[in-house]
Structures are given as structure tokens and as C-alpha cells.
């Protein structure tokens, strides 16, 4: 069953990131991440992945940009997040086990 939601909702952005804070954006999608295994595909530097890690059981951030992955790992360490992992990969060829995540995020990935 489909539903339309949040039409017109305004999320604050900022020149520093040009996207809203992860927690606000994730909440707008209305998906409960608590205790879930989450994969953020096309994660870049992990803006959403790091935000998701606060509630999720584990977060895997996948991206083909190794520089972005390094930055993400550094930021995860700085925040003391131990449940987020950054891995090289592309959305078309994830090389991950079947049925291994409860939530997958594509943010500006398609």
C-alpha cells in the first residue's frame, strides 16, 4: 500500500554540507532504525551513515570513493562510533551476503 507523506516539509540545510543534518533527514523518512542492520549505499563521507549509527545496531557505509571512505572512518572515530564500517563498493555489485540487512539507504545514489 502506498502513501504520500511530507509533501512540502522543509528541512534546514546549510552551506557547510548543503544537506540537512542526518538525524532530521532520516526522521523525515519515517523508518525506525533502532536495533536494525543498516546499509548506506553510495554513502560518500557517511553523512547519513554516521547519523544512522546512533540508533542502528550496525551500519555499513559503501562507496566507490576511497577518499570519502577515509574521511568517513576518521569522522566515525572522532565521534566514538564503533558500530559503523566503511567499505569500498558500488551499488551495482555490493558483494555482500543475501538477506543481511533490515534497511538499505540510497541517498542520491540512483
Amino acid at each position: 500500500m502506498s502513501a504520500t507523506a511530507n509533501v512540502g516539509r522543509l528541512l534546514p540545510g546549510g552551506l557547510g554540507y548543503l544537506r540537512p543534518p542526518a538525524e532530521i533527514e532520516l526522521a523525515a523518512y519515517g523508518v525506525d532504525l533502532r536495533g536494525r542492520r543498516v546499509a548506506d549505499i553510495g554513502a560518500g563521507e557517511g553523512r547519513l551513515a554516521l547519523g544512522a549509527a546512533r540508533g542502528a545496531k550496525t551500519v555499513l557505509a559503501v562507496d566507490p570513493d576511497r577518499t570519502a571512505l577515509r574521511r568517513g572512518r576518521t569522522e566515525a572515530t572522532r565521534r566514538g562510533l564503533r558500530n559503523v564500517t566503511f567499505r569500498y563498493g558500488t551499488a551495482q555489485d555490493l558483494r555482500l551476503p543475501d538477506r543481511s540487512f533490515e534497511v538499505v539507504i540510497f541517498s542520491w545514489t540512483l
Partner: protein, 131 residues
């Protein structure tokens, strides 16, 4: 694009959820004066290749729904608000932008464009459940 959605489905558990968010170039970005809720004084369109890319993304999502790989749990549109100190800073931003047109279509006289500006850009999202 469809192959990426199929790959996402493969790694999801039964009833797992895919959140797909993507820019919505069908909606022009809106330029607001002074605050994120201020008067709309201009719009910014998207470059032609961007519109084509976004259409392909929409078709990919429609394709996996039609084939019954996912069901739609929720969908909607969000607006991201991006602040700029003034029209000059906004123009600098647009000059290098890969998606937006490089010019604002102003709807207000120059005097109304002074000061802080906010650009709202549309983001479309789908929450899909694995079948």
C-alpha cells in the same frame, strides 16, 4: 539503476526496507528572501541532462514496483533549504553547479534581492518494502 535496486533487494531481509531519496528536478528550486519561509522572489531550473537522469531514476523505481520486487510503503517530497549571504554568493554557487541552471529566474525587482537568500530544492523519496 534497476540493477542497483535489484542488488539492494538481494541484501535485504524479507520485509526489509529500502529508502531511496533523489533530487526532484521536476520542481524548480525556489529562492526566498531573508528567511527559509520568506517570500519567493525567484526560481532555479535544472540542466537538461539532470532532468534526463532524474527521469531514468524515477523509471527505475517504477520498474521494480511494477515487477513486484518491492511494494511502496511511503513516498513524499522534502525541501532542503540552503542559505546564502547574498545574491552574489548564490551566483557563485550556481556558476559551478552541475545540476542547477546557472541563472536565477527572478520574479522580484533587484531591490528585493538584497540581503540573505534561501534556496529550497526538492528531494523526492520512496520507502519501499522488499517482497
Amino acid at each position: 539503476m534497476v540493477d542497483a535496486l535489484e542488488e539492494a533487494r538481494r541484501i535485504l531481509v524479507d520485509d526489509g526496507v529500502l529508502v531511496d531519496a533523489r533530487p526532484d528536478s521536476r520542481m524548480s528550486a525556489r529562492v526566498r528572501a531573508r528567511s527559509a519561509t520568506g517570500r519567493v522572489i525567484g526560481t532555479i531550473g535544472s540542466q537538461r541532462p539532470t532532468k534526463s537522469d532524474d527521469t531514468h531514476s524515477d523509471h527505475a523505481v517504477a520498474d521494480v514496483l511494477r515487477r513486484g520486487l518491492f511494494t511502496s510503503r511511503r513516498r513524499g517530497r522534502l525541501w532542503h533549504a540552503i542559505p546564502f549571504e547574498d545574491a552574489g554568493e548564490l551566483q557563485d554557487y550556481l556558476d559551478d553547479h552541475l545540476r542547477f541552471s546557472h541563472r536565477v529566474r527572478w520574479r522580484a525587482p533587484r531591490a528585493a534581492r538584497a540581503g540573505r537568500l534561501f534556496v529550497e530544492r526538492a528531494v523526492r523519496f520512496d520507502v519501499l518494502e522488499r517482497r
